[in-house]
Amino acid sequence: MGTVAVHEVCKSFGKVRALDGVTLDVPDGSFFVVLGPSGAGKTTTLRAIAGLEKLDAGSVHLDGRDATGDAPAARDLAMVFQSYALYPRHTVYENIASPLRARRCSSSEIAAAVEQMSSLLHIERLLQRRPAQLSGGEMQRVALARALVRRPRAFLMDEPLTNLDLKLRVEMRTELTRIHRSLGATFIYVTNDQVEALSMADQVAVLKEGKVQQVGTPTEVYERPANQWVAGFVGSPPISLLACHAEGDRLVGAEGWTLPRPRWTTAEDGRALLLGLRAEDLSVEQRGNASLPGELYGLEPLGDRTVVDVRVGTEILKVKARPTVTGTPGERLLVTVDLDRAHLFDAGTGLSLSEAGR
């Protein structure tokens, strides 16, 4: 078993509200990612679950039992810190053995467990070294081994891949997913990297300024963002947002353009709206019945594709195109819109108006 439930947790540091009523339900065995920009309260959420922060309000339940007042040691959790927090005076072996030593395991048990972990993570030859003699990637593996050496209720990971270079990060991503699958344990994983979140998670919770914006599968969060902020935060290149309002069967943009009104929207006429368009739902190469006039602003070749920046009025639309696309800045062009995949948000509240009727 390994369910973690956080209910209405609040935590302030001085005048800063780090967590403002955070509620999360982490099912047993899931890879649960907490995603948000820096300062969103992700780490504080993790530390609240771990028992490292005293809560101002709210509760933490582990396996259905209230653990709000429990000491970290009593919660039976393991954590990988962003800084790894390897004990500098201890060898790698002793670092990995530490959770077992704290629980008074016999030295033969410890030796077996450390050996198994070090071979799983390919760090056998590092066991007698000290943390200062390790590279970043090696430290990360040792920190991971120290967490995985036990079978706790759940594993907490605080941006464990952030300090690694890109290649290693991609490798470790695959490896973590593999480890999660083979252990079948609950992982709670904090990151500000949406690629990590979308590629690894069973469930994503998007956090902003200490408030949960949306919880769902990666597809749900990407395809049906609950509000304008989530839509803007998740996705690369970021979603383009255009101010507009509905008028009968048309959407009329603040810049003067018109598009057919999507069937699924319930917004009443005249209400200030934001039309959200993802780069892959726009095209400068195909023709369709819904299109926006604009002029070419710039090209960003990314190797496998090119992002075309198109200026519509004062807004810049990001459009995904084939790497072979060409053009000169200032050139007039039409951007075809896949309206079935567009998003509409209330310009005042930022909430999505797309969900109903889809």
């Binding site: 530390r47 490292l52 970290p72 954590m79 004990y87 959770p99």
Partner: protein, 303 residues
């Protein structure tokens, strides 16, 4: 005392950063430097040298006019007199040295045992009005001992701690705890709290985490802090003079000072006693010098 060492340590690297181009032509500058440093060294070291010389001169050489720098008869009689009384028993001075060792040692241990956990707590926990508390703790050091010695004398008289080694131990510890808290807080701040967080998740209690993972990293800082506390207790004169009177309780500073005055002063004995008094702290500081420098610079450098 801490400040002077801080400065002494920090000027070294600072001077290294001076671009060579801005120096006055290399050799002229270095000759001037050496000359000035030599003058300074002579001024600083002459009293020490004279003390050592006097301590090994025979009495008639001590009083000789003109003073004898080199051609005097070497004797260790004064050192014998420091430890052995004329009747062959232990001298009052040797008892006072032993008292100094006990008082300085115990008060330093006490201040460290109380101050280090307090510093840890101030560094790690959200304490109400933390800055005010820390300022209050420091402010107890603002007063020179002579200001508080009379009230303390009166209080000690009430509780019977006058002329009592415990009395001196307590007052020295009380003076050293604030210093220890302040200096150690800097060292504890340098040790990431995440080591303790990680240890607690490993399954240790908070105190175990502190004891097993943070404390070993603080040893250099503790050594440096303890040396400063020890030097304060060892050298302290005002409280020792006012609060003790009998030879069996008196520490070395008032005991050595007591040798001066009266009808005649045995300068050879005073010098020998001073050398014996100065030696332990010098040796101790020399032994822990690595920790001392590492400790002081660690505390000074912010990451």
């Amino acid at each position: 005392m801490a400040v002077s060492v801080d400065e002494a340590v920090s000027t070294g690297p600072a001077r290294d950063h001076t671009p060579p181009a801005r120096r006055l032509g290399g050799r002229g500058r270095s000759v001037l430097e050496v000359a000035l440093l030599t003058v300074l060294a002579v001024v600083m070291l002459f009293p020490v040298l004279w003390m050592i010389e006097t301590s090994i001169k025979e009495n008639r050489d001590v009083y000789a006019i003109p003073a004898k720098f080199f051609d005097f008869t070497v004797t260790l009689d004064h050192y014998k007199d420091v430890f052995v009384a004329p009747d062959g028993t232990r001298s009052a001075l040797s008892v006072s040295f032993l008292n100094s060792v006990v008082v300085a040692g115990v008060s330093t241990v006490l201040a460290t045992v109380l101050g280090v956990p307090a510093a840890w707590a101030y560094s790690r926990f959200a304490v109400r009005a933390k800055k005010d508390q820390l300022f209050f703790i420091l402010s107890t050091r603002f007063m020179p001992p002579v200001v508080v010695v009379i009230p303390i004398f009166l209080m000690y008289r009430q509780v019977g701690l006058i002329d009592n080694k415990l009395g001196l131990i307590l007052i020295y510890a009380a003076f050293n705890v604030p210093f220890t808290i302040w200096m150690m807080k800097g060292f504890v701040d340098e040790v990431p709290a995440e080591y303790e967080d990680a240890a607690m998740l490993d399954g240790y209690t908070r105190l175990q985490a502190f004891w097993k993972f943070t404390l070993p990293l603080l040893v250099p800082g503790i050594a440096a802090t303890a040396v400063f506390a020890l030097i304060f207790s060892w050298n302290e004169f005002v409280f020792a003079t006012f609060l003790t009177s009998s030879d069996s309780v008196r520490t070395a500073p008032p005991a050595v000072a007591g040798l001066i005055g009266g009808t005649t002063t045995d300068w050879g004995l005073v010098a020998a006693a001073s050398v014996v008094f100065a030696l332990p702290v010098l040796v101790f500081a020399y032994l822990v010098r690595k920790h001392l420098i590492a400790g002081v610079t660690l505390g000074a450098v912010r990451r």
